[in-house]
C-alpha cells in the first residue's frame, strides 16, 4: 500500500518545518528520504504516523485517509517506525521489548499470556536477524547506543508492518552490522515490505534504495532513482555539497 | 445583584490575595518547572516559616518581618541540604516520581514536628496594625495585606532577574536540563542544583512570613495550600515565573469575585476547574511555559 501526502504543512511557532510536502512513496519499494539537517524529515515521519498533528494537508495510506488517526491506529494499519533518537523500553529485557510489539485483539487476546511460545520464537528470530540474540535477557538500559538501535528495529519488525519508516537506521551502528541491516532491508523488501528510510549515510542510501525523495526546507525538491539524484544539481547544492 | 461597593472591595481583595498566591507559588515554579522536582513539602515549609515568624513575634516581641533575616538564609541552607543530601541521590529515571514521595515524607515530618513543638492549636500573630486599614475610593485595604503584596512583588522580580540575567541562573537551568553536559562545560552541578533548591525554599521563607501576617496557622494547614498552588503553576505554564504570577493574580481575583454568589467553599473549586481546563485545552499553560502533559 502506498503512502502519500498532499500539501502537508507544519509550523512550530515561527519555524516552518513542513511547507507543503506532497510526496508519494510507492508500495513495494525501498524509498529513501534525504535532506539537510532540519529540512523536516523527522517532522514528516511524525505527521505521517500521527505523533504530531499537521497544520494542514492530508496523509493517505493505501488510499485511506489517515490524517487524523491516532498513532496506534496508524501502526495497526501497517505503518511501523523507528525514532531518530532511538527509543526502547529501558527497564524491560530485549525479549519483552520485542514482545511489546505484539498487538492483541479483543479482550481474550489481551488477557492471553504475553510469553506465548510462538511469539517468543518469532521475537528470538528477529533478535537473531539483527545480531543481538545474545542480549535477549538483558535490560535495554544496560545496552550501548548501537545495541539499542538494533533492538528498536527488532521491535518494530515484530509488529509485522507492511510499511516501515526508518529514521536514520545507520546512525551509530557499526559498519559491519550496517551491511547486515542493508541486506535485511533488501530481504524484507523482497518479502513485500515497503520502506521509507531517512538516512545521511549516502553509501547506504545509494546502494539500497529504489527511489529517493530529497527534502529541503520542508518540501521535496527532487525525486527519482539513485542514479538521477546523485547528479541532480539542486540536490548537490542543497544537500550533498559541491 | 451585589452592590458596586462590594464588587470593588472584592476586586481589591482578590488582587491582594492573588499577589500573595504568586509569591507562594514562585518556589514551586522553580523546582517543578525548572528542576522537574515535585515539591509537595513547599507549603509545609511555608507554614514552617509562618510559625517561625509567629514564634519570634510572640517570644521576642519583634516584628514578624524581621524574622526573615534568620529564616531566609536558614531556609536557603535547608534547601541546599535537602537537595544535596536527599534529592540528588535519587535515580534520574524515577526522579519525578520519587521526589513526590520524598518531599511528601518531608512534609509529614515538618507537620509532625510543628505539632510536637507548638501543638495543633491555631495560631495567629497579633499585630498592633493587624486590623488597621486604608480607605481607597470607598474600599478598604488592610495594611497587613498591602505589606504581603509588596513582599510578593519584590521577591518575584528578584527571582525573575536572577534566573534570566545571571550566570548562576544560566548554570542552574543548564544543570537541570542535561547534567552530564553541564558538568562537561565546567559547571559544578551538585552545588548549582543545591543552590537552586535553596532559592526555592528562600521564597518559601518570604512567602510564609507574608502569610503569617494576616492568617491563622496550624500544622496541617499546608494540605490546604497544596492544591491551589499546584493549580496555579499548571495554569501559569510549568516553569514560567511570570506565568505563575499572572495565573495567581487572575485566580485570586476570580476566587474573590466568585465568593460573592457562591460562598467560600464552592469558590475554591475555581482552582481545580482552571487546572482541568488548562490541561484539556492548553497544556502548556495560558501564559507560556512548558507542556504540562509531559511532566
Amino acid at each position: 500500500m502506498s503512502l502519500a501526502t498532499v500539501d502537508l504543512r507544519k509550523a512550530f511557532g515561527g519555524v516552518v518545518a513542513l511547507d507543503g510536502a506532497t510526496v508519494t512513496f510507492r508500495e513495494g519499494r525501498i524509498n529513501a528520504l534525504i535532506g539537510p539537517n532540519g529540512s523536516g524529515k523527522t517532522t514528516y515521519f511524525n505527521c505521517v504516523t500521527g505523533m504530531i498533528r499537521a497544520d494542514s494537508g492530508t496523509v493517505t495510506y493505501g488510499g485511506t485517509d489517515i490524517t487524523r488517526k491516532a498513532p496506534h491506529a496508524i501502526a495497526r494499519a501497517g505503518v511501523g517506525r523507528t525514532f531518530q533518537l532511538c527509543r526502547v523500553f529501558p527497564r524491560m529485557t530485549a525479549l519483552d521489548n520485542v514482545l511489546a510489539a505484539v498487538r492483541p485483539g479483543g479482550v481474550s487476546g489481551g488477557l492471553r499470556g504475553a510469553r506465548h511460545r510462538a511469539e517468543v520464537d518469532r521475537a528470538r528470530g528477529w533478535l537473531t536477524r539483527l545480531g543481538i540474540e545474545h542480549l535477549i535477557d538483558i535490560e535495554a538500559r544496560n545496552m550501548s547506543w548501537g545495541q539499542q538501535k538494533l533492538l528498536e528495529l527488532a521491535g518494530v519488525l515484530m509488529g509485522e508492518p507492511a510499511t516501515v519508516l526508518l529514521d536514520e537506521p545507520a546512525g551509530g551502528v557499526n559498519p559491519a552490522l550496517l551491511d547486515r541491516i542493508g541486506t535485511l532491508v533488501r530481504d524484507l523488501n523482497a518479502e513485500g515490505r515497503t520502506f521509507v528510510i531517512v538516512e545521511h549515510n549516502m553509501d547506504l542510501v545509494m546502494s539500497i534504495s529504489d527511489h529517493i525523495v530529497v527534502f529541503d526546507r520542508g518540501r521535496p525538491i527532487a525525486e527519482g532513482p539513485p542514479s538521477l539524484i546523485r547528479t541532480d544539481e539542486r540536490v548537490l547544492g542543497a544537500y550533498l555539497g559541491s | 445583584m451585589p452592590s458596586g461597593a462590594l464588587l470593588f472591595q472584592s476586586v481589591i481583595l482578590g488582587l491582594l490575595l492573588g499577589g500573595l498566591y504568586a509569591l507562594l507559588a514562585a518556589g514551586l515554579t522553580l523546582y517543578f518547572g525548572i528542576m522537574r522536582v515535585v515539591m509537595i513539602a513547599h507549603s509545609a515549609f511555608l507554614i514552617l516559616a509562618a510559625y517561625l515568624a509567629w514564634w519570634t513575634h510572640t517570644r521576642l516581641g519583634i516584628d514578624p518581618l524581621l524574622s526573615m533575616i534568620v529564616t531566609v538564609p536558614l531556609f536557603f541552607g535547608a534547601g541546599v541540604l535537602l537537595q544535596r543530601g536527599l534529592l540528588s541521590r535519587l535515580r534520574a529515571i524515577t526522579l519525578t516520581m520519587m521526589s513526590v514521595l520524598l518531599t511528601f515524607a518531608v512534609a509529614l515530618i515538618i507537620e509532625g514536628l510543628l505539632g510536637y513543638a507548638f501543638t495543633g492549636t491555631q495560631r495567629r500573630i497579633q499585630l498592633g496594625y493587624g486590623s488597621a486599614g486604608l480607605q481607597v475610593f470607598g474600599a478598604r485595604i488592610a495594611v497587613v495585606k498591602l505589606i504581603a503584596f509588596g513582599l510578593a512583588v519584590l521577591a518575584l522580580a528578584a527571582l525573575y532577574l536572577l534566573m534570566k540575567k545571571t550566570t548562576f541562573g544560566w548554570a542552574l537551568r543548564a544543570t537541570i536540563q542535561h547534567r552530564d553536559a553541564a558538568r562537561l562545560v565546567g559547571i559544578d552541578t551538585e552545588r548549582v542544583a543545591g543552590y537552586g533548591f535553596g532559592l526555592g525554599l528562600a521564597t518559601a521563607a518570604i512567602g510564609g512570613t507574608a502569610l503569617s501576617l494576616d492568617t491563622t496557622i496550624y500544622p496541617s494547614l499546608h494540605w490546604h495550600w497544596i492544591g491551589p498552588l499546584m493549580a496555579i503553576i499548571v495554569v501559569g505554564g510549568l516553569g514560567s515565573v511570570p506565568g505563575a504570577a499572572a495565573a495567581a493574580v487572575l485566580l485570586g481575583l476570580i476566587q474573590s469575585l466568585l465568593q460573592i454568589p457562591l460562598g467560600t467553599t464552592w469558590a475554591q473549586t475555581i482552582f481545580y476547574l482552571a487546572l482541568f481546563a488548562t490541561l484539556a485545552f492548553r497544556p502548556q499553560g495560558f501564559f507560556g511555559g512548558r507542556l504540562a502533559q509531559r511532566f
Binding site: 511501523g80 511489546a100 509488529g159 | 519525578t96 514521595l101 507537620e111 494540605w223 499546584m230 490541561l279 509531559r294
Partner: protein
Amino acid sequence: MLSVSRAVGLVVLAAAVLSFPGLAPNPYILSAGIVVLNYAVLATSWNFVGGFTGYISLGHGALAGLGGYGTALLVTKAGLPSFVALAVAALAVAALAVPIGLAALRVRGASFVIVSIALVLILLLVFQSWSSVTGGSRGLVVPRPFPDLLRPEHHRVFYYLFAGLLALALLAWWVIDRSRFGLGLKAIREDEDKAEALGTPTFTYKLIVFVVSAGFTALAGGLYALWFGDLDPVFQFSILTGSYLVLMALLGGVRNLFGPLAGALIVGTALEYFKGQFGNTPLHLVATGVLLGLVVMFMPDGVLPAITGLWQRLRKSPQSSIREVSAADLQTERQRAEVAK
C-alpha cells in the same frame, strides 16, 4: 505457570490469612486485621495503575471515598440492600472513572500527580458543600448490613469479606501481569510515545486499567463503609489516605504481585505501633515520614525485590550483565547457523 515453591507459598499465605480471626485474642486485634486487609486491597487496587503504568496517583483515597459514599447513599436514599448497593456503587464509580480518566490520563508524570491531588481536593469540596445529598460535614451514617450481629461477630464476617476481595484483586492483578495487555501497560510505563508508535492504544489501555483500579478501590471503600458505619468527607477524601496507599505499594514493591500486600502489612502494623508509641504527640507523622523517606532513598524498588535481590546475590556470584561475544565469535557463530539452515 506456578512453580512448586510459589504454590507452597500461596497456600501458607492463604492459611495464615484465613486462620487469623481464630487466633486473634480479642475483637480489637481482629478489627486491626480488617484495617490492614482493607489497606491491602486498596494498595493492590492502586497498583493496577501505579505498578503497571507508572502513573502515581495520590488520589485513590478519593475513589475509595466515592465507593463508600456511593454505597451509603444507595442504602440510605435508594433503599437498596447493602451488598447490592456495594456492587452498584462500585460499578458506578468504575463508570465515573471513565470521564475522570479521560481528563486525568491526558497528562503524565508530575502533572498527573497534581491532577490526582486535585481530584481529592475537589471531591472534598463537593462532598463538604453539597450537604443536602451528602450530609456535608455532618457526615453520613451507613446502616449496618447485619444489624443483629454482635460487634465481634460483625468483625469476623467482614474480615472474611475483605479477605475474599483481596484474593479477587490479587487474581486480577496476576492475570493482567502475565498478559499481553499487561506487557502493553508496562511498555507505557517505560516509554508511552514509543508504545503508541508500536501500535498499543495507550490511552485506551490506561483508561481500562484505571477503571479496573477504580472499581476495586471503590469496592474496598464501599465494604469499608459498610463495616465502619460513619462517613465524614474530611476523612474519606484525604490526600493522606492516598499517600499511605502509595507508601504501602512502594514499600512492598510495585512490580510484585504481593508487594502492596506486604507493604500494607508493614505500614498498617507500623501505624498501629507508632500510635501506641507516640500516642499523645504528632510524632507518628514524623515516624511515617521517616519510614517513607527511608524506603524512597534505600529501597526504591521495594522490600520484596530487595529481598529477592539479596537472595539471588547470595546464591550466585556476581554475573556479568552481558554475554560476552566478540565480533569474530559472532561472525563464526552466524556462519555456523547459516550453514545449518
